[in-house]
Amino acid sequence: MEDRRERQSFEELALPLLDSLYRYARWLSRDPAEAEDLVQEAYLKGLRGFGGFTPGSNISAWMFRILRNTFLTSRSGLRAVPPLSLDEEPELVEAIADGATPESHLLQRADAESLRRAIEELPVEFREVLLLSDVEEMSYKEIAETLSIPLGTVTSRLMRARQKVRKAFSRKQ
């Protein structure tokens, strides 16, 4: 049966992404129960829309995008994301590298728990780029595809996200 075959190939491609999608859902919603619902809904949507998926293209960017849209249209997603788009202010980005700042040394010593709390306090746009880059190890191009934003925005958003984490730490200590 056509349907059955399609479901099987969808599951073969999408089920290995479960841990990653769950992690993304957790960091989008910051709530374990909601994360499970988001993932389940995303899989249902993915299965239903699988006919529109181009074989050989990036299934993980595709599924992440479905999950993200599911979150954005959920109640907490609508609350989390301001109606206006992010302003990509460049002034936070230092011109010259300065790795040996006190913040980064503090960061190295920081325990995972306080770092996790600092990331949790970031706006969702920053949490997600950190996750996609540092945990999922997506390239800037894949992140741009997943979030439907220009490549340059990925670069600047990621820099701002890390800047904010550093700042949060320098304030804390």
């Binding site: 349907d3 059955r4 479901r7 599951e11 089920l15 479960l18 841990d19 999608l21 769950y22 992690r23 957790r26 960091w27 374990p32 499970e36 993932v39 389940q40 899989y43 249902l44 980005v93 230092e94 011109a95 010259i96 590298a97 300065d98 790795g99 040996a100 700042t101 980064s104 960061l107 190295q108 920081a110 995972a112 728990e113 770092l115 996790r116 990331i119 950190l130 996750l131 880059s133 540092d134 945990v135 390239s139 800037y140 670069t155 990621l158 820099m159 890390r162 984490v165 550093r166």
Partner: protein, 234 residues
Amino acid sequence: MMDRHWTAEEVERFADREASPDDRHLRECVRCANAVLATAQMKAAIRGAMDVGPAPASLRARLTQRRSVQTPWWIAAAAVLAAIVVLTPFLLRNQPALPELVDMHVTIVGSANPVDVISTDRHTVKPWFEGRVPFAVPVPDLASTPFRLIGGRVVYWRGNQAAYLLIGKAAHRISLFVFRQENAPKNLGTSPPAVSTLSWRDDGLLFVAVADVPPGDLAALRDAFTHPRSEVSP
């Protein structure tokens, strides 16, 4: 080759394994090498902090269980859909339409807001229907007839749009339903007592007039629509 320090962006790109400048500079510059190292350490720290472990087993079970649970659901849904598709023409199309249209007439005429466009001017009412119903609604000039235009609205018949014109004759209200032929009621049936109904076809449209007026009045209305003055006179 490159004797300047790396920018913060270049450092991050390098740590993120994106295209970045020649890394020979890093071997000679402690400051930039430190920056790259700090970024890499930060990435590792973030990776550790953001790890939430594998997805719960219960979630995985829910997703894989769907396979056996969902097949009957789809079959059931398909069966219901097929039944609706097959039975609808028998259940609905063959039911006489006039009693329903008379009910609509009574409902609309008795409503506080019977029409959505209120105008005696056909040049207002006719364009109002554009984009609201999938055909041009003929609205003749009723000036020299005993009828007057009150307004119009969109109504639905078996899921398709139809035009509704409310026409006055003295204190009486006449409902005129205008359907596109392909979406028109197939079986009008007989008119219920106490109201007059009259239907006619013209130019691919089906007109059904309903009112508590003598049948002769509806015939006069039909003539006003089928022989509009504006087209007869020069």
